[in-house]
């Protein structure tokens, strides 16, 4: 039964989303339990397929419809996407648990059935993008994840439909660029399967069509990944989205985009192609340097907590870009490990921001005085996740930045290293400003302790919100403590031999 896990990982949530929608029409309350069961099953399948990869040491190949790869579609689970899959499944499950009270608060009752169905379809799209070994299948899954993202963001308050529309224009531009890139690869090779492409492409590295196709693939993945110049859709859409949606989208969607970038750069194309033949990684690196500086400064300038975190995502993607750009073994290990860590870090931060907005009725950072007395657990999670983003040792952020730094030093890219350190410094300023307000500034008694409506009682954050936050913080610490094992037993094998 274990050998069917890669396919079950994508197909079970797909069929469950239809069930959730159909049953939700009759009985609204059944949607949430079904979502939890589905995502728990996904965690089992992801863990099982990653375990087979670890125990056998060989990538797992799964032929859909029993057709051999270049003709049929193939699923490949190896060390690189096995880890990403398990992290995706964990964070998706935690986000689903967290979303229970948020959805009751934000989404009208009649829309729960389609909302949860799209929620699970979003997870299906992300799982499918990570596990597939076929370029066109990745495009179709990209579209499923993007459509559910547009619709879920459109449910937000205020200018959310406008933000969702601009995100759709950007997203479709990116997806069409990716499709064009796949078309360019198809016209000169005739195949769509990633492993097959790698064999056929090696003699073709001089062809101009290939370099233009490669550029389109990078642009398309860059848009989905919110890489620096094409990230402008992210702050508006994730800030205005309902908090249950931004907890699912913010940590996961951009990281799967980063995974697709690494898959294209190092599996479909030979590592030597993107580092020596075309200065692709150099260009990526310099753009990442500019991106880190720009988005860190923009994050400092924000007064809205959620918008600040959105710019933080662009900074983290910049770090991953620098890891890829250093083009050596250590840098790549750092960026893969950073993808893993960043999922948990961003999940913790966005969960805390959602609870603060729900119970404190405010997102303005200067109004968060005395947060720790009212909401001790949330501010504790905010501290742990913040320290991890800055890169303080017990938390996992430090270890991935450590590898990134080693990668840039080994590659002799001093500006990349400078950007990494400066980015961490700016993040430190960012977070200590919030910690200082929430811990050391007393809340003046006359200030309405609930922000907008004085007199309403301050109901405590529900357990279904606190438990996932605490678990995320625990995972951040655990990833940090066991980083040695993770890198040694799994990520080290994910790096292609040529590096």
């Amino acid at each position: 039964m274990m050998l069917h896990f890669p396919a079950l990982l994508v197909v079970v949530p797909l069929i469950m989303s239809f069930l959730i929608f159909a049953c939700g029409l009759f009985e609204r309350r059944i949607c949430f339990p079904l979502t939890l069961v589905t995502l728990a099953a996904c965690l089992l399948f992801a863990g099982g397929s990653f375990w087979t990869v670890l125990s056998t040491g060989q990538p797992v190949h799964y032929h859909l419809g029993a057709w051999a790869p270049p003709w049929g579609i193939e699923y490949v689970v190896d060390n690189l996407n096995g880890l990403v899959l398990v992290a995706l499944a964990i964070v998706a499950l935690l986000a689903a648990i967290y979303a229970k009270t948020m959805v009751e608060r934000e989404i009208p009752v009649a829309k729960h059935a389609p909302f949860y169905a799209l929620y699970v379809l979003q997870a299906t799209g992300l799982f499918g993008m990570t596990v597939t070994g076929d370029m066109f299948n990745l495009y179709v899954l990209l579209e499923i994840a993007s459509f559910s993202a547009y619709a879920l963001i459109g449910m937000g308050e205020g200018a959310a439909p406008f933000a969702a529309f601009r995100y759709m224009i950007f997203g479709t531009l990116g997806a069409c660029a990716y499709l064009l890139g796949v078309g360019y690869l198809y016209i000169i090779t005739g195949s769509l399967n990633m492993a097959d492409l790698q064999q056929i492409l090696t003699p073709l590295y001089q062809s101009q069509v290939l370099s233009v196709g490669f550029a389109f693939l990078l642009v398309g993945t860059g848009v989905k990944m919110a890489y620096f110049p094409v990230h402008t859709w992210l702050p508006d859409s994730y800030t205005l989205a309902p908090s249950s949606v931004s907890v699912l989208l913010a940590p996961l969607f951009t990281k799967v985009g980063a995974y697709v970038l690494i898959r294209i750069l190092f599996t479909v194309f030979d590592p030597s192609f993107s580092t020596t033949l075309l200065p692709a990684t150099q260009v990526l690196g310099w753009i990442a340097v500019a991106g880190i500086l720009f988005s860190s400064i923009m994050a400092l300038a924000q007064s809205d907590l959620k918008r600040m975190l959105c710019y933080l995502i662009v900074t983290e993607i910049g770090y991953i870009g620098i890891g890829v750009a250093s083009g050596n073994r250590l840098g790549l290990i750092g960026s893969i490990f950073h993808i893993l860590n960043d999922m948990f870090m961003m999940a913790g931060l966005f969960m805390a921001a959602g609870v603060i907005q729900a119970h404190f009725r405010t997102r303005k950072t200067h109004e968060l005085t005395g947060l720790h007395r009212k909401m001790p657990v949330t501010s504790a999670v905010l501290v742990i996740a913040g320290l991890s983003v800055i890169g303080v040792p017990p938390a996992c952020g430090f270890f991935s930045k450590w590898y990134l730094l080693l990668g840039t030093i080994q590659a002799g890219q001093w500006f990349f290293m400078g950007a990494l350190l400066l980015g961490s410094l700016l993040n430190a300023i960012l977070f200590f400003r919030i910690f200082e307000r929430s811990y050391f500034e007393a809340r003046p008694d006359d200030a309405p302790h609930l922000g907008k409506e004085p007199g309403t009682t301050f109901e405590r954050a529900a357990m279904s919100e606190l438990v996932p936050m605490v678990l995320t913080a625990a995972f951040i610490i655990l990833l940090g403590l066991f980083s040695g094992y993770i890198v040694e037993y799994s990520i080290a094998y994910a790096v292609p031999k040529g590096m």
């Binding site: 439909p161 529309f165 479709t172 078309g183």
Partner: protein, 124 residues
């Protein structure tokens, strides 16, 4: 030179369509015109894929059952791009559907589809 142009005229046309669609998406102020530009952009990529699959002297890829053992791939057009583009057409329809819904929501909230007017309304 003329052979160079004539032998690839499908690809020249698809590039022109992409430029029109791309310009429409980037420069137009009205959101509906942006959507129309996006549709042109998507459909030009569909034209590109379909023109990859064509073969000179190839007929419709429905195989003639009578000459079963001796079917030659040269006689039939390449079916794979047609399958891929069925997916791209469906994605185009879905994009247009969701975009029109969002436009209705935006119009319901701001009473206009001009991007600059909406941005002013947002600033207030």
């Amino acid at each position: 030179m003329t052979d160079f142009i004539v032998s690839k005229y499908n690809y020249w046309i698809y590039v022109l369509l992409i430029m029109i669609g791309f310009y429409g998406m980037m420069a137009k102020n009205n959101l509906m015109k942006k959507l129309i530009g996006m549709n042109i952009f998507q459909w030009s990529i569909i034209l590109f894929y379909i023109s990859i699959g064509s073969k000179k002297g190839g007929s419709v890829p429905v195989v003639d059952p009578s000459l079963h053992p001796a079917i030659r791939a040269l006689d039939y057009v390449n079916p794979l791009p047609h399958v891929l583009m069925l997916t791209a057409i469906v994605v185009g329809v879905a994009t247009t559907g969701i975009a029109l819904t969002l436009l209705i929501l935006i119009y319901r909230k701001y009473g206009t589809l001009e991007e600059d007017e909406i941005l002013e309304a947002l600033k207030k």
